[in-house]
């Protein structure tokens, strides 16, 4: 099984477009599992129009306090590195969105007054688009701050019989991005030939370099003046996997919810050649 993360740094460069193309092309010959790891704004399902086969609420740990046992000593507040607890004279104030579910409060409590609790942060879905393409996605609840547990849950549900797993990663370079890319065998950066694309690509590439994952570049909206990215690729000894040209036809197709495989015969060959390399 090969795990490929599609990432970018900058938003809107074409991660979902490429993830869908990859899933579509690879599933013609292999068994593929596509994960939409952008749980804050999932959108692969808008293109795949899946029939939901499994739906599951995702819950994370939250401490529950037994105020009858509690001595209000403040040890749980002291041990909480995220300052999610305030111990008052006769009550405990808990800030759920700050809590990182580390359970240190349970360990610190000498009275055994902290109990295991659960709280919902989102929903996870699973579907089979066709016999060779599994698809999972998740959606973070409104008002929730931590998306990483949803992403790790998605990954825990990877079908073991898949030949390829594709992670459609969230934009940015912070925790959700790291969580999504973590454990991948290869990262494909989708970027655009603009200073914005390059700037965010550099940051994301630095993160992936530290994680020691091999990576390559796809230049999207290429209009023949891609020097800005090509120079960086040369300097960093990276490879360019494919170019997707800047075309009104593609934009129209995408807006109508079409997966663009048919529109890119050349791209299909490039990607296949590259996948064989992996």
């Amino acid at each position: 099984m090969k795990r490929i993360a599609v990432a970018s740094g900058k938003g809107g460069t074409g991660k979902t477009t490429l993830s869908l193309i990859l899933a579509e092309i690879l599933s013609q010959k292999y068994k593929v599992h596509l994960l939409d790891c952008d749980v804050e704004e999932p959108n692969c399902h808008l293109f795949l129009k899946p029939k939901i086969k499994k739906k599951k609420e995702v819950k994370i740990f939250t401490p529950l306090f037994d105020l009858k046992k509690c001595a209000f000593c403040g040890k749980c507040q002291k041990v909480c590195q995220f300052h999610a607890l305030l111990v008052l004279k006769d009550n405990i104030l808990k800030f759920d969105e700050i809590c990182h579910s580390c359970r240190a409060c349970i360990l610190a409590c000498p009275e055994g007054a902290v109990k295991e609790g659960k709280r919902r942060i989102g929903v996870e879905y699973f579907s089979e688009i066709k016999s060779s393409l599994y698809f999972s996605w998740a959606a973070l609840d409104v008002n929730e701050a931590r998306s990483t547990p949803l992403i790790s849950n998605l990954k825990a549900g990877i079908k073991k019989d898949s030949d390829f797993v594709i992670y459609d990663s969230p934009p940015g370079t912070s925790c959700p991005f790291v969580e999504a890319v973590h454990g991948a065998d290869y990262v494909i950066f989708v970027t655009e030939p603009t200073p914005f694309g390059l700037y965010d690509l550099k940051i994301a590439h630095q993160a992936v370099k530290r994680m020691k994952i091999p990576c390559g570049i796809v230049i999207n909206r290429s209009y023949g003046e891609d020097k800005i990215i090509e120079d960086y690729v040369k300097k960093q000894n990276l490879e360019i996997i494919a170019y997707i040209s800047f075309s009104k036809k593609f934009a129209q197709g995408y807006s109508r919810g079409k997966i663009l495989t048919e529109l890119f015969p050349g791209l299909k060959n490039d990607l296949f050649k590259f996948m064989r390399g992996i």
Binding site: C80, F82, H83, A84, L86, L88, N91, L93, F95, I98
Partner: protein
């Protein structure tokens, strides 16, 4: 009455800091004598939970009233739970903010 003010510095002539949880300094002023103490806000550079932590700090220093620019929802909840009075949209120097608060009809 002890008044806590979020401040840019450690004197009455310092500017009121516009944000509560991550302000650099807290001044705790006794409104009868105008004597004050100050401390650097340990919550200023915290990853998360700065608001509640700042509220806990000023509560420990005996504050009954909080003057600041704005507070976040978590800080507001903590300040209320501690039973402190919250006054937002304070501005100018610390002295000006306190004078204005004390002149207001209660």
């Amino acid at each position: 009455m002890k008044i806590a003010v979020s401040s840019q510095g450690g004197s009455l002539s310092a500017q009121v800091a516009p944000n509560f949880g991550r302000c650099p300094v807290f001044l705790i002023i006794d409104s009868e004598t105008m004597k004050f103490e100050f401390f650097t806000n340990p919550a200023e550079g915290m990853m998360g939970g700065a608001g509640p932590e700042a509220a806990r700090q000023i509560h420990q220093h005996g504050a009954e009233v909080v003057l600041t620019g704005v507070v976040g929802p978590n800080a507001e909840k903590a300040i209320q739970t501690y039973g402190m009075k919250l006054v937002q949209r304070a501005s100018g120097t610390v002295k000006e903010a306190i004078d204005k608060y004390l002149k207001e009809p209660k």
